[in-house]
């Protein structure tokens, strides 16, 4: 049974030209899907639709069989820009989702501290967001999305502001955590190899349509060796070609 179903969805901002054009998509529980596509093709919009932040003009979206009409408690979201609250410290920002639902306990704080350590910000708990570098801010946003242990994660280019090393570390961390919690993840990235490395399935969008989709049949868990696998590079190349307009 599918966990998230996007069913023939169309969307346009302010009734102007169509941004999302009859998209269909399906995700099973625990799967990790990546969305690729040129800048401005509608990835973020699709993610917002899937998460219930936007309502489709036509078609429908279902999460665990239920129609999505608004964001759900079970979903975590990392926006394209970090979107932290300037007046809260880093750790309070991470704890925000919790503090909105109940009193923050000591174990919550410990959990937040763990996550911050995981994303490599162990010494910045009490800093304010404006005192962080761009990449540090985006890592705080990631930690915030993870603190609720969501069963569904929507990640919009969470690693775009990170260097190759940190990025690869975090890729592995996210994969591990999601595996552990059997989290379903819809992930947007511009890095083709990142997409292939992470996903069970990748899709390429163009002008609001999904023009290509492919299962990634690499062994799991992925390790650094995966990147040197022949089929890895082949898939990357294929996707590249799709994106640059050639046929798959």
């Amino acid at each position: 049974m599918s966990f998230l179903t996007i069913n023939n969805v169309t969307y346009s901002y302010q009734g102007q030209n169509v941004i999302i054009d009859r998209v269909n998509w399906e995700m099973k529980k625990g799967e990790f899907h990546c969305l690729l596509g040129k800048s401005g093709c509608g990835k973020t919009t699709l993610l917002k639709l899937a998460s219930g932040l936007l309502q489709p003009d036509t078609g429908n979206i279902q999460l665990q069989g239920k129609q999505v009409t608004e964001p759900s408690h079970e979903c975590g979201f990392v926006f394209q820009s970090p979107t932290l609250l300037e007046w809260k410290t880093v750790i309070d920002n991470v704890l925000l989702p919790i503090s909105l639902r109940r009193k923050v306990t000591l174990s919550d704080r410990e959990h937040a501290a763990q996550l911050l350590e995981l994303v490599g910000l162990s010494s910045q708990f009490e800093r304010y967001p404006l005192q962080l570098s761009g990449g540090q801010q985006s890592r705080v946003a990631l930690a915030r999305a993870l603190i609720q242990k969501p069963s569904m994660l929507f990640l919009d280019e969470p690693f775009a502001a990170l260097d190759a090393i940190t990025r690869e570390e975090l890729q592995d961390d996210v994969l591990r955590i999601c595996n552990l919690q059997n989290t379903t993840v819809l992930f947007i990235t511009h890095d083709i190899s990142e997409a292939v490395y992470l996903s069970d399935r990748v899709a390429v969008m163009e002008q609001g349509k999904i023009i290509y989709a492919s299962d990634v049949k690499l062994t799991k868990p992925r390790t650094f060796k995966t990147r040197y696998d022949a089929s890895f590079n082949e898939l990357c190349l294929q996707i590249r070609q799709v994106m640059s307009g050639g046929q798959p």
């Binding site: 998460s51 932040l53 979107t83 909105l100 304010y128």
Partner: protein, 251 residues
Amino acid sequence: MRNVRLYSLLLLFVLLALWEMLAKNMSELVLPAPSVIFFTMLDGMRSGYLFPHIIRTTLEVVLGLFCGGLFGFFFGILMGEVEFLRKLLFPYVIASQAVPKLALAPLFILWFGFGMTSKVVITALICFFPLLENTVTSIQYVDKQKEELFRMLKASRWQTLIHLKIPAGMPGILAGLRVAVVLAVVGAVVGEFIGGSEGLGALIIASQGMMDTPLMFVSLLLLTIIGMFLYQLVAILEKRWLKPYTREKRK
């Protein structure tokens, strides 16, 4: 910034000197000299004559500000959140402001008696508006991205308010409070104009009746001091609360 103090004092002296000169050529009944005002004040302080008035007015201002401020903040939030209420109530809010309270005196006295209540009510009525208006505005112009974040976190309306809109709108809300603080002083005095036998407003009226202009100016001076003091208090609160907003600026 120590220089500011110096220049501030300098300016004060220049202004006082100018005033003194201006007043020399004028009847004390029209414009008393600062020196005259000073000695009148000293007298009043020494004899203790002024204290009950000062205390009374301060009390009214503080109470009125508290009620009016809370009220303005609260309704500002309500009206900022609920467009329906905003459209429904704003005509009445404006009516309550555009009407000179002085003219409504008899009604206030009728409804709230001759005592302090009517003055507190007038003060509250006068000072709630800037806070309301600024609150309504401040909580409406919130970063769209942050709003989306809160929607994603399924924050209730109330939580979005508490955790996002109010903190983000704090600078604007406090600007409203600062205006309210100063208006509260005027409010209390206007209340006392109407029917009060104690308080600096009553003293102003009484001194006008006796044509004791120096005493009137003493009252005005005391009012200014009360206003300035409260304003400064809010500024200090602001520095405390808005630290994170301005943290970057310090260096």
